[in-house]
Amino acid sequence: MNNIQRRKLINGAVLVLSTMAALLGLFMLVWILGDVGIRGAAAMNWDFFTQLPTPPGTSEGGLANAIVGTALMTLVAALIAVPFGVMAGTYLSEFGRHNTMGTITRFISDILVSAPSIVIGVFVYLILVRSLGHFSGWAGAVALAIIMLPVVSRTTEEMLSLVPPEMREAALALGAPYWKMMLHVIYRAAVAGMITGVMLAIARVAGETAPLLFTGLNSPYWMHSMNEPMANLTVTLFDYAMSPYDDWHTLAWGAAFLITVSVLTVTIFTRLVLRNRSRH
């Protein structure tokens, strides 16, 4: 009897600890989002979205150039990574399911997904910044694209393999060549899932800072082309948060708020879409 009581006691203790761990996780999420929300919302005003950064001490500055810069670099990164990743994902799903090439590509993609983004920044610095002699928005976009690429290719693979085999068989039985079947049947069936995968990948890189430190760098001015150092939200946040000025800290919280809200909105929205689809 004593033994049973002891086992029940241990069991109860573990279950309480486990529940506390889960509540702690939820509490931390609310705490961080609460801080970012409260302090960041205070920085939100018309100037924040329309004005250029100003020196510390003048409170009417904004981060308009950084917002545009981040959007532009992310967009260019997507334009590079999406076609590349979709093609690679197609190979993994259609031709490389069981062969060596597929296995190796899958293995390396999964490592690149979690690879340190700062090292990707160093790599792009060496090939695009050092050799050309200047920091540029292009280099920043390429660094972001390298981070997006494995995410896009793996989600494309997953979405394509969710398409029922009957659809392939039907198209092939009608005499369609493989590439036509892919183009007209399989991509169409999987396109919603592929778009959500791309959105998730974009949300991921939109908040990246480390790969931009040595590539896109940062700038307090409006950009004239992608061929020069480019203002962006995350590096601006880093510089401002590390500075000793209170009004720059406020702007940094504003930037954190804007980035977090955008990333979380896209993430939650795409998750809901994915869940509804898998339910059908």
Binding site: S18, A22, I32, M87, A88, I118, W179, T209, T267
Partner: protein
């Protein structure tokens, strides 16, 4: 008929070749990263050789570069993060699989995964402005009052330092470890669990004696995945680790990690040797994370293989 058949075969070969080229591109990119980092760190490798890894002398003025302090900081902050994150993640996974009422599982699971979606720089900023003051004003003095005799709690409570970096890192990797562990737990066949319950086991005994042994490779994979993330994490650590070249076993002391060294010094490095040493530092980080993440993938794959 014949012509369209040949053209469709041509089209298919072309299509296959094209997709294969892009797939190969991913691996080529990876190889190119290692080759470029290796080439560009030659100067540092030739100058310092193996002593680069074990010297704690990092001095741009005298052009002496040893990576011991950043390597030590990277490993220590990661170890601290795992120390906090592993038990918490297992607890969360257990809660999500066995304890939570079913209506609660999805929203709770999503909330935990949302922690992974918050950009790392936001964690860093929060750590610097919210967690660090809390550490220096309350938590660190309390630890010193009660456990001050331990050498790991010596030194002034500054808020920033190894312990704070470890805590922020733990927060960032918990969602990764917890969600993979949850999936591993969910893969345990219902019949195995029911058999153990039928023999009169408590929930904890089922977890300890059935679920964890069944999923141990998957859990190891999850832990290594979190470890790989923590090793390479840059922004969150750079904000709170203190950025000091200082070798100390005290958890309160400021230090440096490989990633934070790169973030702080790379654009300011003047001189080829300085830059080359920083690149070698990047190469070391890349190789460490490659090993850890490679092991994680192997275990996670093999875990799946077992289940089929």
């Amino acid at each position: 008929m014949n012509r369209s058949k040949t053209s469709s075969i041509m089209g298919d070969t072309l299509f296959r070749g094209l997709t294969m080229t892009f797939a190969a591109g991913i691996s080529l990119l990876f190889v190119a990263m290692i080759v470029v980092l290796w080439q560009q760190s030659q100067l540092s490798i030739d100058t310092f050789g193996f002593s680069f890894l074990i010297s704690d002398d990092w001095n741009p003025v005298t052009q002496k570069f040893g990576a011991l302090i950043p390597i030590f900081g990277t490993l220590l902050s990661t170890a601290l993060a795992l120390f906090f994150a592993i038990p918490l993640s297992l607890g969360i996974a257990l809660f999500l699989v066995e304890l939570a009422p079913s209506w609660m599982r999805t929203p709770f699971g999503t909330a935990i995964e949302l922690l992974a979606a918050i950009p790392s720089i936001v964690y860093g900023m929060w750590g610097l402005f919210v967690l660090a003051p809390l550490m220096s004003d309350h938590i660190q003095p309390w630890l010193q009052d009660h456990f001050g005799f331990l050498f790991i709690f010596s030194g002034p409570p500054m808020g920033i330092g190894m312990l704070t970096a470890g805590l922020v890192l733990a927060l960032m990797i918990i969602p990764f470890i917890a969600s993979v562990t949850r999936d591993v737990f969910l893969m345990v066949p219902q019949t195995l669990k029911e058999a153990a319950y039928g023999l009169g086991s408590t929930t904890w005994e089922v977890v300890k004696d059935v679920m964890i042994p069944y999923g141990k490779k998957g859990i190891a994979g999850a832990v290594f995945l979190g470890m790989g993330r923590a090793l390479g994490e840059t922004m969150a650590v750079t904000f709170v680790i203190g950025n000091a070249y200082h070798l100390s076993w005290s958890m309160f002391a400021p230090g440096n990690s490989i990633a934070s060294t790169l973030a702080n010094e790379f654009t300011e490095a003047d001189g080829d040797l300085y830059l080359s040493s920083l690149i070698e530092l990047g190469l070391v980080l890349f190789l460490i994370t490659f090993t850890v993440l490679g092991l994680a993938q192997l275990w996670l794959r093999r875990g799946q293989g077992n289940r089929r």
